[in-house]
């Protein structure tokens, strides 16, 4: 877990709307380290799924990357042709979506999904070889090999999600972006799927970006966690550190508002207000209207996204930990 596999630099993604552009991802820089599970958490509308799609340049329609670089294996994906990009998707970059039923083709057998992916990227393989590899793969993920002749509707939700991940890793890809992969699953199936993700990380040295709103899921599997709020990163750090000592007031509130089944007599924190409209985000720090520690400067100037201590991988975007520029405070 030393070198970055994927480096996001100053990425901005905008949605064109009738009332102006909405910045769902606003100047975000983040490294995904080789072999790690990075949890990206945030509430709905914070831009986490937009970010996930942009990493594969899968954003469509009104969404547009207006700035930034996406470095993956020494290539800036922003400069690649759509043909080269298509080669990378499926072979080096895999994606798993929330709802496996709408991501799989209902009139195609599972085996056809898998062999199509393989033969598209490896045209010299025979159909027979692809089928054998498909059988091996699903068996590795805990599905009986003969079930690959089933259609998606003949499988349970948990099995369908395993098929999705088998598609993502069919060609030994380096990075899997999993967007809410367990949200449609029941807790026991979810727990099994999370165990599977950890196994794949260990056995295949897979790197996973796990996008979720579920704090418990992140705590269970992620090595590092990135917290997103209103298109910005609020905090990034080692999972143990962030959970033990969250620094950003939003992270603090978020962690305290999650029900914990193992805690007796605990109290749920009620965060006031709702996330802002991205068409008209608040000035300065976007969390300042809801922040219990708000200071004068917070509404005036945006905080930098800086290490907590010099050289610390734990980064936070909050004025509480930054030296304030004196003249701005004077103006307030």
């Amino acid at each position: 877990m030393s070198s970055p596999l994927y480096s996001i630099r100053n990425l901005t993604v905008e949605y064109k709307t009738r009332t102006g552009p909405a910045r769902a991802v606003d100047d975000i820089s983040l490294d995904i380290m080789r072999g790690e599970i990075l949890g990206l958490v945030g509430e709905s509308g914070c831009g986490k799924s937009t970010l996930g799609k942009a990493l594969m340049r899968l954003h469509t329609g009104p969404a547009r990357i207006t700035a930034g670089e996406l470095w993956f294996n020494d290539e800036n994906l922003m400069e690649l042709s759509s043909r080269r990009m298509r080669q990378l998707r499926g072979s080096k970059l895999g994606m798993v979506f929330q709802d496996p039923m709408t991501s799989l083709n209902p009139v195609q057998r599972v085996v056809d999904h898998l062999t199509e992916t393989m033969l598209t990227h490896e045209p010299e393989w025979t159909k027979k070889a692809a089928r054998e590899r498909a059988e091996e793969l699903v068996e590795r993920l805990g599905i009986l090999p003969e079930r690959i002749d089933d259609y998606p509707h003949q499988m349970s939700g948990g099995m369908r999600q395993r098929v999705m991940i088998s598609l993502a890793i069919a060609l030994n890809c380096d990075l899997v972006i999993a967007d809410e992969p367990t949200t449609s699953l029941d807790v026991i199936v979810e727990a099994k799927f999370l165990d599977l993700l950890k196994e794949l990380q260990r056995d295949f040295n897979l790197t996973i970006l796990l996008i979720t709103h579920n704090i418990g899921v992140v705590a269970e599997v992620a090595d590092r966690v990135a917290v997103m709020y209103a298109g910005k990163l609020a905090e990034v750090g080692d999972t143990f550190e962030v959970f033990a000592a969250p620094q950003h007031p939003y992270t603090q509130g978020l962690l305290r508002s999650v029900p914990n089944i193992k805690l007796d007599g605990a109290e749920l924190y009620k965060m006031e207000g709702t996330p802002p409209n991205l068409l008209h985000p608040p000035s300065g720090c976007r969390f300042h209207p809801r922040c219990p520690n708000v200071m004068d400067i917070c509404s005036v100037q945006e905080p930098g996204f800086d290490p907590l201590h010099p050289g610390d991988p734990h980064r936070v975007a909050c004025w509480l930990y930054e030296e304030q520029p004196v003249k701005v405070v004077g103006d307030v």
Binding site: I188, G216, E220, G265
Partner: protein, 364 residues
């Protein structure tokens, strides 16, 4: 700070007041017959296979308590909610509300009784008519159940309700449409609409599942405040056992159409008796990276409710199942602490074969 928090029932919340039952469910069964063609019905000699969504359950909901009904998808928990509201007709068994057997009521009597039982569903956007303003939406039940009110009086009732659910000032919201407000506010409108007729019982079917993490705590807090303010009884249907912990007084866990365990929440969570409850409680993701699961996850997945396994329905997945016992006979709800009302349906833990469980797992 304490004002900004709600308490978990884990320690401070007392047991439900031992009062009379508002809802009694006895031997409740709901089978949904599968559609089958002419030829199939000939071959089956008229016996139509059915999804056994709810298959013989009993419980009481006491006045003033929050009764949780938990289970995974397909366990039948939502069907039970609909049966209690008489939105579905039971295949067998009965539901009594305040001592009245719902199956004996005429359509008119049932309609009148409906004002005393209301429902909140998971998706507020789907529960609200997009072409009705918030004010019209909340006024609607009142028009049906309180036709005697004048327009001005009705407006006042609507404003009162908006105030009660924390949407103030009400005239800011009454003329808005559902798409103009946030998801959390929409669910508040659904709650306000449920309260207009001053019901006794609210069936809340996954009421916060669609809400964002930071909004959930506020909605739960609101529901608990309204419970005191309006003397409500809740049936809280959820798949989320962590949330249930913060609101429920008692809880029933369902698996494949059966209740496998029921009891006071603290007692069930601290000492689950049924292996399924154990597994379910252990599988819940915990927001603490230091926490590790202790129980092995059950094998396989939930079987098909058209052909549930014989005997105990959990036996094919159960880590302690004993052949010849668990697959032979159906267990019934019983318990060592039955005076507390903590019951489970397990041959090995609460049934006649407890010696088998102790022989296997607690060798002398």
């Amino acid at each position: 700070m304490s004002d900004a928090m709600i308490e978990a029932t884990g320690v401070t919340g007392g047991p439900a007041p031992d009062g009379d039952a508002l809802v009694q469910v006895r031997g409740l069964v709901k089978h949904f017959p599968l559609q089958s063609g002419f030829l199939a019905s000939l071959l089956n000699r008229g016996e139509v296979p059915a999804v056994q969504a709810v298959d013989g359950i009993d419980f009481d909901i006491r006045r003033g308590e929050v009764f949780g009904l938990a289970g995974e998808s397909g366990s039948g928990k939502s069907t039970v909610g609909r049966l209690i509201l008489n939105l579905l007709e039971p295949t067998a068994g009965r539901v009594s509300f305040d001592g009245v057997d719902l199956s004996t009521l005429s359509a008119g009597d049932m309609r009148r009784l409906r004002s005393r039982m209301q429902v909140i569903f998971q998706d507020p956007l789907a529960s609200l008519n997009p072409r009705m303003t918030i004010g019209e939406t909340i006024a609607h039940p009142s028009e049906i159940h309180q036709p005697e009110l004048s327009a001005a009086e009705r407006r006042r009732v609507v404003f009162e309700m908006l105030d009660a659910v924390g949407m103030s000032p009400p005239d800011n919201f009454a003329d808005k449409y559902p798409h103009q407000i946030s998801g959390g506010q929409r669910q508040r409108v659904v709650i306000a609409r449920a309260l207009v007729t001053r019901p006794d019982l609210i069936v809340a079917d996954e009421p916060i599942a669609m809400a964002d993490v930071s909004v959930r705590a506020l909605l739960l807090d609101l529901m608990m405040r309204l419970k005191d303010e309006f003397d409500l009884t809740y049936l809280f249907i959820t798949h989320d056992l962590a949330t249930a912990k913060y609101v429920c007084d008692r809880i029933a866990v369902m698996y494949l159409g059966k209740i496998v365990e029921v009891g006071p929440l603290t007692s069930v969570y601290r000492g689950p008796l049924h292996p399924y409850t154990e597994a379910l409680l252990d599988a819940v993701p915990v927001p603490d990276p230091l926490h590790r699961r202790t129980e092995p996850l059950p094998r396989g997945e939930i079987p098909n409710p058209i052909n549930p396994p014989p005997g105990c329905r959990f036996h094919p997945r159960c880590p302690i199942a004993v052949a010849g016992v668990c697959d032979a006979e159906e267990p019934y709800l019983a318990g060592p602490n039955s005076d507390e009302g903590h019951l489970a349906a397990c041959h090995l833990r609460t049934g006649a074969h407890q010696d088998l469980d102790s022989a296997r797992f607690r060798p002398a």
